[in-house]
């Protein structure tokens, strides 16, 4: 069983999971460890009521199903259920520590695409659901730089169920890997895959300079990162547009209010710790 997850060549083509992952349109999915699926505890609540043909689907995922003994209709139903079941297990798996590290790897490679927002400078995205219940909403992409969500470019990805990733995943990832939080401004150098790491270094530098309070984790503060964020400013023959400028000033005021709120809080915490 372990051979499969380590990806030994001979088993690779036979495994249902690797076949599923290699299918076009399934690029967002990470490989769920076989032992994770085999642990019944992780499947709590997933049963015949939720997933049709539950046991056959589970057997198919774990490559224990004798497919030849089934007629075409049944096989198709089992296949559909297996995809569905894999998606639901996937949503649980990717918020575990192993799952997070696998998804982090995919994020580093920008497997989920890049933010279309111009001032996000090709920031890699992360998949997110808007609901944890299946058949509600399609998967969306979360940009950690502008902290907004976007629809996937391609229809193939746009039709994946958001529940296969869940509402929690990207936020959990940055809770666990706070050092992966990108800076908000323009990354140094050209835009490349290495941006993720480079912008991080940049952020750390700037944070240390700004003298933000250090919290108990010995890590850097993120309270004033938003100062670096860039915005589009509409101009007509070089002149700002009244209402757009007003709204932009209002937003700046909101941003500054949050920053001073957080910095006050840090100061308070710093004092109590002393």
């Amino acid at each position: 069983m372990d051979d499969l997850s380590t990806g030994s060549e001979s088993d690779y083509s036979n495994s249902w999971i690797s076949w599923f992952l290699s299918t076009k349109g399934n690029e967002y999915f990470a490989e769920v460890d076989e032992d994770y699926i085999l642990d019944r505890f992780n499947l709590t609540g997933l049963n015949g009521e939720v997933v049709q043909e539950y046991s056959r689907a589970l057997n198919l995922i774990t490559d224990n199903l004798d497919e030849d003994s089934l007629d075409d209709d049944v096989r198709e139903a089992v296949e559909t259920s297996a995809r569905f079941l894999y998606g639901l297990i996937h949503a649980r798996y990717i918020v575990t520590s192993r799952g997070l590290s696998k998804m982090l790897e995919k994020y580093r490679k920008a497997d989920f695409g890049r933010c279309p927002r111009v001032y996000c400078y090709q920031q890699p995205l992360l998949p997110v659901g808007l609901s944890d219940i299946p058949y509600q909403k399609a998967v969306k992409l979360y940009c950690p730089r502008c902290e907004d969500i976007y629809s996937p470019k391609s229809n193939r990805h746009g039709s994946i169920d958001g529940a296969y990733f869940g509402t929690t995943f990207p936020h959990m990832l940055f809770m666990v890997y706070p050092q992966m939080i990108p800076g908000k401004g323009q990354p140094v150098g050209s835009s490349s895959v290495a941006d993720v790491n480079r912008s991080l270094a940049n952020q750390q530098k700037s944070e240390n300079n700004s003298g933000g309070g250090q919290n108990s984790l010995g890590s850097i503060s993120t309270s004033s990162v938003a100062n670096k964020a860039e915005r589009y400013e509409p101009r007509i023959f070089g002149f700002k547009v009244n209402e757009d400028a007003k709204l932009s000033r209002w937003r700046t005021a909101r941003r500054n209010a949050q920053i001073s709120r957080l910095e006050n809080l840090e100061r308070e915490q710093g004092q109590t710790n002393l």
């Binding site: 808007l130 969306k140 902290e147 990207p170 936020h171 101009r235 005021a253």
Partner: protein, 348 residues
């Protein structure tokens, strides 16, 4: 400059033939034949361009200053207008050079043309037909976008797309637009367009429904699918006339709980998409982007925060009241959960 010109994807022979074809027929003034402009705007990746009227190009006044910017200006102009080149055309080393000049000339004329009344009305037709695509942002609900440039000089940046709802700019989804220069649309076009057609722009404020405002006036609106320009929406700005904004903002959640802003990975960019609840709130910020505190001129942090607490009615001034926060959090998550299935429509 040379590198800025959109690369020609067809081979020179074909282009020559094409140019020859069109120029040989254009002298007969019949518009049914394929003109250079028609041909150029129908190329893949050129669907953001509108057809510049020939009379606009023929008016020398409209070309002021372009002679210095476009190499082989005269030949390029002839090509764009499908005028039979004069006999001394053998001066030109290669037709593909003139071709790229013609493209540059057309782009720069296009930038000027789309600012005219006729040009704007050409572009609004394309806009309403959805030729420019839709905003990729989920809570903009596929608002149509408009091409815009970040510079007025060619060779600086490619074309971007401006969303009138979130007021942000995006990279076109397809790489075929990566060769279109932003200067061919210019910085002025999209803001001017929405001054001309304010009803296509979203209002700069977003009121949560009256019911929501009573229970807990939150900045995260509940009713995102409020009909666009619905019966209840009235714009208090007499000069505005914009439609109701799609003002919903994404709220990160872990297992249903909002991520606190106190967390290192907590939300830092909510302000980027937020709008004030009322139109008047826009005036409560001074020119230095500070909230105006009534009767006081000093802006200490505390006053600032107090004013914000008042503004949003969120009780955000109560920084250190944990219990209150938690209770509020709970309430809100429930509310949103109930509303979630009906309010967010996902295009299948």
């Amino acid at each position: 400059m040379a590198s800025s010109a959109p690369p020609v994807e067809m081979d020179p022979d074909e282009l020559e033939e094409e140019a020859f074809d069109s120029s040989s027929q254009a002298s007969s003034t019949a518009t049914s034949t394929l003109t250079w402009i028609n041909w150029y705007t129908s190329l893949p990746g050129h669907d953001y361009f509108c057809d510049v009227h020939e009379d606009f190009i023929e008016d020398d006044f409209n070309l002021t200053g372009l002679q210095a910017m476009v190499p082989f200006f005269k030949e390029a102009l002839e090509m764009v207008l499908d005028v039979e080149p004069e006999e001394d055309s053998n001066k030109i080393p290669d037709v593909s050079i003139v071709e790229s000049s013609a493209e540059l000339l057309y782009g720069l004329v296009h930038q000027r043309f789309i600012l005219t009344k006729v040009g704007l009305s050409c572009m609004v037709e394309k806009y309403e037909a959805g030729h420019f695509g839709a905003c990729p942002r989920v809570f903009c609900h596929a608002t149509p976008v408009l091409p815009c440039g970040r510079a007025d000089m060619p060779g600086i940046d490619t074309v971007k797309l401006y969303c009138p709802n979130c007021g942000d700019i995006y990279t076109p989804p397809s790489s075929k637009y990566a060769s279109v220069d932003g200067a061919f649309f210019g910085t002025t076009f999209s803001p001017l367009f929405f001054q001309q057609y304010p009803e296509l722009l979203s209002a700069p404020f977003f009121a949560t429904g009256p019911a929501a405002a009573q229970s807990s006036s939150r900045t995260t609106p509940v009713d995102s699918s409020a009909p666009v320009g619905g019966g209840t929406f009235t714009n208090p700005n007499p000069h505005g006339g914009q439609k109701a904004a799609l003002g919903r903002v994404y709220v990160p959640r872990i297992y249903g709980f909002k991520v606190s802003e106190r967390a290192r990975s907590g939300p830092r960019m909510k302000w980027l998409r937020e709008r004030p609840e009322r139109f008047d709130d826009l005036d409560k910020v001074d020119w230095k982007s500070r909230f105006i505190v009534e009767g006081q001129n000093t802006e200490g942090d505390d006053e600032l925060m107090a004013s914000i607490g008042k503004q949003s009615g969120q009780g955000k001034g109560k920084l250190f009241d944990d219990e209150d926060d938690i209770v509020e959090d709970d309430d809100e998550s429930e509310e949103e959960e109930e509303n979630a299935p009906t309010t967010i429509a996902v295009p299948s």
